[in-house]
């Protein structure tokens, strides 16, 4: 049953991604709406899947790559829907849904069995640390999507080739603003996630910091975003530079998420 619901959610996200791609090539007001409806349907099913898994295993279903990736995608969709509600910029979907779909698709390729949570890790820190880390990273994911939109629009305006997506992309200032806002949300979440992680590590493993690859990469990601905010405040690195940095930051997030788990021996193997 969980599998069917998951596949259905994946199908809806796939359909929404296709509509998003279509939206990039063809203008139509109906497409954005359709994309939003399909995404919302996928989101409802996705939520159902997570609730079902929660009841099966008794804790937040984020152990194992399958569940972790799926939960990550879920956080992104949640923030995306919220962003749509707040700003109503239809075309954003075309840049976010592909990320969601690829995450869900890779989630579907991982083994789906529920990996039991090691008793050492079973504490309230588990929920706090992981939810903060996931939602922080989800904000960064969307920030990078918006960053891509910014770079595209900036290219059109600078090169004076005003074809393609120029008309459908919103103005530069709002893209920069959304990008910045998402990072200001994601950064404190990540910061608290790292702090709670440190505290949790002490209580679970007996030491605060072990230079585990995941810890190192999280620190790298954190540094990148700290830099984004710092340079913006001090040197006025806004617009293009901020957009590029936010994309680099998200690549680091992705590496922390997938790379570390697949390439290194880590304590953070999602179970």
């Amino acid at each position: 049953m969980e599998t069917i619901v998951f596949e259905l959610a994946l199908t809806f996200y796939f359909a929404a991604t296709l509509i998003g791609l279509l939206e990039i090539f063809k203008e139509s007001k109906g497409l954005s709406k359709l994309l939003l409806i399909l995404t919302a349907c996928g989101f409802v099913l996705h939520t159902l899947n997570i609730i079902m898994r929660y009841y099966t295993c008794g804790y937040l279903p984020i152990t194992g790559m399958h569940q972790a990736t799926s939960f990550f995608a879920w956080c992104i969709v949640l923030i995306f829907l919220f962003l749509q509600f707040r700003y109503q910029i239809g075309i954003i979907g075309a840049f976010i849904l592909p990320i969601v779909f690829i995450l869900m698709l890779s989630s579907s390729t991982f083994p789906r069995g529920i990996i039991p949570l090691s008793p050492v890790l079973q504490s309230y820190w588990f929920n706090i640390h992981t939810v903060l880390a996931f939602s922080g990273n989800a904000s960064f994911a969307i920030a990078s999507g918006v960053g891509v939109m910014y770079l595209l629009q900036e290219y059109y305006l600078k090169s004076k080739r005003l074809g393609g997506l120029f008309r459908r992309l919103p103005n530069l200032q709002i893209l920069d603003e959304i990008n910045y806002r998402l990072i200001t949300i994601g950064f404190p979440l990540l910061t608290i996630a790292i702090i709670t992680g440190v505290l949790w590590a002490e209580s679970a493993w007996g030491s605060y910091w072990r230079w585990d690859p995941k810890e190192v990469w999280s620190l790298i990601t954190w540094t990148i975003y700290a830099l984004v905010l710092h340079l913006r405040a001090i040197k006025g690195w806004r617009g293009k530079k901020a957009a590029i940095l936010s994309i680099i930051g998200f690549l680091s997030v992705l590496f922390t998420f997938f790379g570390v788990n697949l390439l290194f021996e880590s304590l953070h193997i999602f179970g």
Partner: protein, 424 residues
């Protein structure tokens, strides 16, 4: 009975001729009433703008009407017929309906998609309606022309993009900044096009306006006009620090703003975006400035290119619009046809037959043990009642020629024959 259009426009007639044939002020009403009194004209409306003069007519024998109207124009404007005859166009029925719909949708305009014409057309028909020179046919034609124009506007992007340099500047500013009201603007120098662009920016909400002119007095004058403040020309670099949009049009023969200067300014403004429009020829602003992050420099050629692209886009959209017009013309003609008496007589008959059949069926159902003889008698009775009832309207439709359309419409309404007709 035909719908026809007689007129001339910017494509067929010179300004000179258009002026001679235009109806303005008191003359407009005079002409309209005069036209209404012409023989064979049942309904008439008149449009007179700087780009076109058109007369819309519903009446008998359109060819003769055409001649009559030409004579009327000649006498009314005291101008020889041969002088304007070659510039006239004359459309009837399908072509006339199509022409009106195209005009309303701004497909026949000098600048395709410009929005004024619909308002002018509406006004012309409203005037005619008030003076009671139009009736059911032309009123419906106008109603449908408006809805066609609205469809064109919402379903195509025909009026979306700027097609003048000054509007293109505003359009670009809106793609750089979130909202114009909070932005500050500086006009460097003066000139017709620069002032026009400034006016467009101001009408789009820009409030903080500065004018820097080499002649300070002239700057003060302009600043007053724009509700802004004058700045000494020597101070413009300092002012750039607090300016988001610049329009530059001075007579300088060399660059008044160099890349290094701008780099420093950008650093000081913490890279807040600046949009600079340099419409001076020769250019006043170092083109390399465009390479600096968050600075967007457009010169006159860049803007012209934007406009050209937009015009091209409009022409592409116009093709879509033509298809919509075609569709609506078809609908209108179908309605016109439905007023024709023969199909109407048939549909009254069909309706009567249907009612009769339905009622007989019910009757038979209720009195199942009635014998054949009685049944036939009842059927006969039903037939004779329905026939008697539909006889007078049938005769009236066949015989009338004067108010056929009015009658047809009344009958359709009274008999409830309007079901397939969408009403708004």
């Amino acid at each position: 009975m035909d719908i026809s259009v007689i007129g001339l426009n910017h494509k067929t007639a010179s300004v000179d001729l258009r002026e001679k044939l235009a109806f303005s002020g008191q003359k407009f009403q005079e002409a309209l009433m005069g036209l209404k009194n012409l023989p064979m004209i049942d309904e008439v409306a008149l449009l007179s703008t700087c780009n076109r003069v058109e007369i819309y007519v519903y009446g008998r024998n359109s060819e003769k009407t055409y001649e009559t109207i030409k004579n009327f124009l000649s006498i009314f404007h005291q101008i020889d017929k041969t002088e304007f005859e070659p510039a006239l166009y004359f459309y009837t029925n399908r072509d006339a309906v199509k022409h009106v719909f195209r005009v309303a949708s701004s497909l026949d305009s000098m600048i395709i998609g410009e929005p004024q014409i619909l308002g002018q057309l509406k006004e012309a028909f409203d005037f005619a309606l008030n003076k009671k020179t139009t009736g059911s046919i032309l009123n419906r034609l106008m109603k449908k022309a408006i809805s066609t124009a609205k469809r064109v506007r919402t379903e195509t992007r025909i009026a979306e993009n700027a097609v003048s340099i000054s509007f293109a500047a505003v359009e670009l500013a809106k793609k750089i900044f979130k909202e114009l009201p909070g932005k500050s603007f500086m006009l460097l120098g003066a000139g017709e096009m620069a002032e026009l662009a400034a006016r467009h920016l101001i009408s789009n909400g820009v409030k903080d306006v500065k004018v820097a002119n080499r002649t300070y007095e002239r700057g003060c004058e302009l600043a007053k006009e724009f509700n802004g403040k004058a700045v000494r020309f020597e101070d413009f670099l300092k002012e750039l620090l607090y300016t988001d949009i610049v329009i530059c049009s001075t007579g300088a023969t060399e660059y008044i703003l160099k890349k290094e200067q701008m780099q420093k300014i950008m650093k000081d403004r913490k890279n807040k975006p600046v949009f600079i429009i340099d419409i001076s020829v020769p250019r006043n602003i170092d083109p390399d400035i465009n390479q600096i992050d968050n600075v967007y420099l457009y010169n006159i050629d860049d803007l012209q290119q934007v406009v050209d692209n937009n015009l091209l886009e409009r022409r592409k959209e116009a093709e879509k619009a033509e298809a919509i017009v075609e569709e609506e013309v078809e609908k209108f003609l179908k309605w016109l046809e439905s007023l024709d008496s023969i199909p109407l007589i048939i549909s009254i008959r069909q309706k009567a037959e249907a009612i009769k059949k339905e009622e007989l069926e019910k009757f038979r159902h209720r009195f199942q043990n009635l014998d054949k003889e009685h049944l036939e008698a009842i059927e006969h009775l039903a037939s004779s009642i329905t026939n008697k009832l539909i006889h007078p309207p049938t005769i009236a439709l066949k015989e009338s020629s004067e108010d056929k359309e009015l009658l047809a419409m009344a009958i359709k309404k009274l008999y409830g024959l309007n079901e397939d007709e969408e009403e708004e």
